[in-house]
Symmetry: C2
Subunit: 425 residues, 2 copies
């Protein structure tokens, strides 16, 4: 490869001294191929530059936040304008009211909003609201679904107590019988059913929501008085301009949103209906920066673009073109190549690839051709992508499939993903 990485290596060495494990959380590249850069220096539109100045078309979009392009001129101008007036003050500005009005005007089930910072804040608030509303304890949620990284939900529970995770019952996503059994097990103690808008777990094929499953979740909540929570943090505004289960005719009581709500500026929100309003008013939740005005100005501009542009139709069409083109090239190269989930949030996995050695090799080949893809986490399209970007990606893919074909018999095991074949995850 001809990419340089000396600055990245230097930063990694320095980071190892002052950051535990060198990096933490979802942006650690610990479980990515070794040649993936850890540090970046620039983002513009659909592109990203690593710390050594190498440029990539970025299919991760900051793991979601980048919906309209990095450093978006209008969104960031709205932010900077408000920053000069007032940002984190001794109280909120009128922008908070405007933003709550904008969201409740767009999202069919929503009558009110509570803003926060992390996606985990919004999902945790939803759980607390459901418990306050029902005065019951149990949440039913799907095995493997990600709803945040606080003790009750973090996927790697080091330092977490059994008591932090009590009163949770797990079912299989899209499995009606399993959902019914979990609800039956909760008995008269069911506070909430949590649902991802589609199955977007890591390392495995994604799945669209089954309509019968979604309707059953709604019906079970109606029957028991529990609240239905749809966690749109990752998928919000990439499937719909409304809560995405609107497309299958199911409205939740509460929904959580974040990521691209302000196109990368830190903001998340819990939305809810009138049924849950009193409970939402009864809980005490807050954060030092939850009232920040500049971020709300950026969100208002983001929502204007969501409402007034054809971004959703465009990224959907781009995603479909990408999917069709990849399928064609994978087949031509003779690879079994599964593309799952919505076209705007694609995940691809190779057949017969238990430790992802093919996926790793293919991803590294793409990276070397200036396309940043992910071997085991869903990706994200953004509205700054063009048809030319997709054409470039398909050219890179054709070359990468060919390169993979040359190497496939000699690929070394991926030691750091050995837990996958061991079935440990």
């Amino acid at each position: 490869m001809d990419r340089t990485n000396s600055r990245d290596r230097e930063l990694r060495e320095r980071a190892a001294a002052v950051i535990p494990g060198g990096m933490y959380g979802h942006q650690s590249v610990g479980l990515l191929p070794d040649d993936y850069p850890q540090f970046f220096e620039k983002g513009e539109g659909a592109h990203l530059w690593d710390a050594d100045g190498n440029r990539y078309l970025d299919f991760m979009c900051a793991y979601g936040p980048n919906l309209f392009g990095y450093a978006h001129p209008e969104i960031d101008a709205a932010f900077v304008r408000q920053l000069g007036l007032g940002d984190t003050l001794t109280g909120p500005t009128g922008l908070m009211v405007e933003l709550a009005e904008a969201l409740t005007g767009m999202v069919a089930h929503a009558d009110w909003a509570i803003f926060c910072k992390n996606g985990s804040d919004a999902t945790t608030m939803a759980l607390t609201t459901a418990r306050a509303h029902t005065r019951r304890r149990v949440v039913v949620r799907a095995k493997g679904a990600y709803h945040g990284a606080l003790p009750w939900c973090t996927p790697r529970p080091a330092g977490v107590l059994d008591s932090d995770r009590s009163h949770q019952i797990f079912c299989d996503y899209n499995d009606v019988a399993s959902l019914e059994a979990a609800v039956a097990e909760a008995g008269d103690d069911l506070a909430a059913i949590f649902a991802a808008p589609f199955k977007h777990d890591t390392f495995v094929d994604q799945a669209e929501p089954d309509v019968a499953y979604a309707r059953k979740a709604r019906e079970l909540c109606d029957r028991t008085g529990a609240l239905l929570v749809v966690d749109e943090v990752r998928a919000g505004f990439r499937l719909s301009r409304d809560c995405s289960w609107s497309r299958i005719g199911v409205q939740p009581d509460l929904s959580s949103w974040g990521k691209c709500l302000a196109n990368g500026h830190p903001l998340s929100v819990m939305l809810g209906n009138d049924k849950a309003r009193k409970a939402a008013a009864s809980i005490f939740v807050t954060g030092s920066f939850w009232y920040q005005a500049a971020t709300m100005a950026a969100a208002l501009e983001t929502l204007r673009l969501v409402r007034d542009t054809d971004y959703l139709e465009r990224i959907t069409a781009l995603g479909e073109a990408l999917r069709a083109g990849l399928a064609e090239r994978a087949a031509a190269a003779g690879f079994g190549f599964r593309q799952t989930g919505p076209s705007t949030m694609p995940l691809f996995l190779f057949d017969e690839d238990p430790d992802l050695r093919k996926g790793y090799c293919f991803s590294s080949e793409m990276l070397n051709r200036g396309v940043y893809v992910h071997p085991w986490h869903n990706m994200f399209l953004c509205a700054a992508m063009t048809e030319a970007d997709i054409a470039h990606t398909l050219d890179a893919a054709e070359a990468s499939f060919a390169a993979l074909k040359r190497q496939v018999r000699d690929l070394a095991p991926v030691e750091k993903l050995a837990f996958l074949s061991a079935g440990a995850r």
Copy 2:
């Protein structure tokens, strides 16, 4: 009063429709005098404008985040410069490493840093790290101390389960015997002792940390292998350029910081020593915006000002002048007036004022004279304040004490603070 509030009233009406209870969290004015504005539109230096354009000298400083002045030119320029380059990307920038180096260089006990967004993120991470390190469960903390608003620590536990709050034992701040008893009760299951840097509870007099108490906390942790956590979220950099217990010779293993770390831009951090590094690397914590680069650029500029200016000496001197001047004017007017806590984070309460009717009246009189003070929460000084601002505040206070004296016999009970006299809080 001659302040207008028509815009505030209009916003409150609209907010009542789309925000549960009209407002939530610590920036709700629900427990402030009725004439306090809920909505603001501008901040500059030490001043704040409400939604109707009324201007105040602001002694709340956004409840802490404003340390160097609202809309600080250099800090916000650093933010905006980085925003144009790249903010929330698919990975961190080198600024994260620089910032971790800057913090570990300034804070004596710190060998590493993990950045996050809310103060609650940092305190919760500290708890999880301590539990991972010790493989034990119990945290000992002081009754009434605020460590965030997640289920395990929120002061108003609607919707929270007993299991969310299990394995916590409470002691009285500054009471060595009570601390020892709590630790004894924890037995061999003690994971951490949490400590506020001083007692900064709401509604009651503040208290500086007792040296014997702080040393005992350290000694008990050393003896049991538990970790000592000092929660500097609220007080950080207003008492010291280091962890504030350094001043009394006690170093924690972990500390949590937030609020003014980036002068109002959303950032918090857990700092820790080498003993806790492996445990910190083992926990899974993350957030969509935790790697945001522009905020780290703002924090680096904030830390430069912390290191290179005499802001701390200046705000301390201003706080002392304010305290002396208020004491003199209160005495002259014949009021028993208690000022407690550090001079840079003052709280004042009137004698014989169980439902705070005197405090409410005085605060409203100050507000009418363009000075925003708080009747029951500690206040904050910032480096944008001047001697002239303090002189103006003392003039306003002299007039407000006189106005209070005229009204004091006829003050109505403060219904919304009736819980204070009832001892319910």
